[in-house]
């Protein structure tokens, strides 16, 4: 029997944003699949409801990879696929495998010769890049910057240099409760003329995206505490 397909299913970035997040194909896919590999079972079940799932939740098979990673590995996750069932992969928010640990599931699928199909959906990195006005022909996403203060200011200066040398947008994130200290550090360390885009609460009613020079940001510092944010830096 041919293997099933692994569908990569993006999840909304914020609550009550279904109309902004889901394509009709995503809803159809969700209704044609009964087995999922997810980062968090509770979030996943709520998401499936929002996405228009008609299958009773009790009929779903859900593998939680954040639990399994701590224990016995992910071998079991692929039995359904090998037996010909289609399976959906979902992370907690945004696109599976982008800034989250789902990539190793996809990697394994490729190794096993399983077909992988990515679905269109929200990615905070991509939305932020699009909305920044910075160079989208060359960009790097770095994930998190170092926590140590000295390392972090060194890293900020490195990112400025990379941006200037390669005409490249530098993108990074921070744990939401550390956003304010990171911004403070950026305003202290980066050049006055470096441009910084802050994109936060993307797709939600409180969405905020602004691009300014460091000098301009210093005049009016936004409150970012506990708001999911993406930072983009561009120096040329």
């Amino acid at each position: 029997m041919p293997y099933g397909t692994l569908y990569l299913i993006p999840v909304p970035l914020a609550e009550d944003t279904s109309a902004k997040s889901f394509t009709p194909f995503l809803t159809d896919t969700v209704n044609s699949i009964k087995e999922y590999i997810v980062e968090n079972e509770k979030t996943a079940r709520r998401f499936l409801r929002e996405a228009g799932l008609k299958t009773p939740q009790s009929e779903l098979i859900i593998h939680d990879y954040s639990k399994h990673n701590r224990g016995t590995g992910t071998g079991d996750f692929f039995k359904g696929l090998q037996a010909g069932s289609d399976v959906g992969l979902m992370s907690e928010a945004g696109c599976p495998g982008i800034a989250d640990p789902g990539a190793e599931i996809v990697e394994k699928a490729h190794r096993m010769g399983i077909k992988v199909v990515p679905l269109v959906g929200p990615s905070s990195i991509l939305l932020a890049l699009m909305a920044s006005g910075f160079n989208g022909q060359s960009f790097t996403f770095h994930g998190y910057l170092p926590i140590d203060k000295a390392d972090r200011s060194k890293r900020i200066r490195e990112l400025e240099n990379l941006s200037e040398r390669n005409d490249q947008t530098q993108i990074f994130i921070e744990t939401p409760f550390r956003n304010n200290p990171l911004l403070e550090e950026l305003l202290k360390t980066a050049h006055q003329k470096t441009r910084l885009c802050i994109a936060c609460d993307l797709t939600s009613a409180t969405e905020y995206v602004q691009t300014k020079t460091i000098a301009e940001w210093q005049k009016r510092i936004p409150e970012l505490h506990k708001r999911p944010a993406i930072f983009l830096l561009y120096h040329k």
Copy 2:
């Protein structure tokens, strides 16, 4: 009067993929806007029809930035926004400003204090990264590699080094009619164990996404001529 909002509107990557590409919010937005800044007027009008536009096309104001860039600048594009009208920005395919020249329109909007709202939609870079199984916590998009053969193999080796040193996925594209020569070069230049993901015809019926080592690809070379493709390289 307050300024209008600049909506960044992604466009499908392939024909007949509306259900895979559009969110209900995108269709609503398109129906609430009468003025557009676009990369290609003809493509844009076709897209708006597919996206469920109800406004008669004759009532639309369309600014073509690929024409204007060659001539008189983009000053006129912002008059509607300054007078309070919402305006949509669209590229030929995918997300405006990502691997296309729309970014300068967004940059100017920020400078003028105009609100920018990015919409969820298809990005071949992001879909390919998600489906590659490579590191999505650190990645660089480089755009095109050099055309000159010697420069190109040098660049491929640089990308391998970058990937190894930074544990970072390296993403690049090529003009579709040059895909086959690029793949040949990759198979000749890169290490046997380097992994290469080829993602082509994304979202369309002929979609193809596979990740293999260079050694595996050498055994069976896919035909990529004139198919829109994304290449991802990962070496660790």
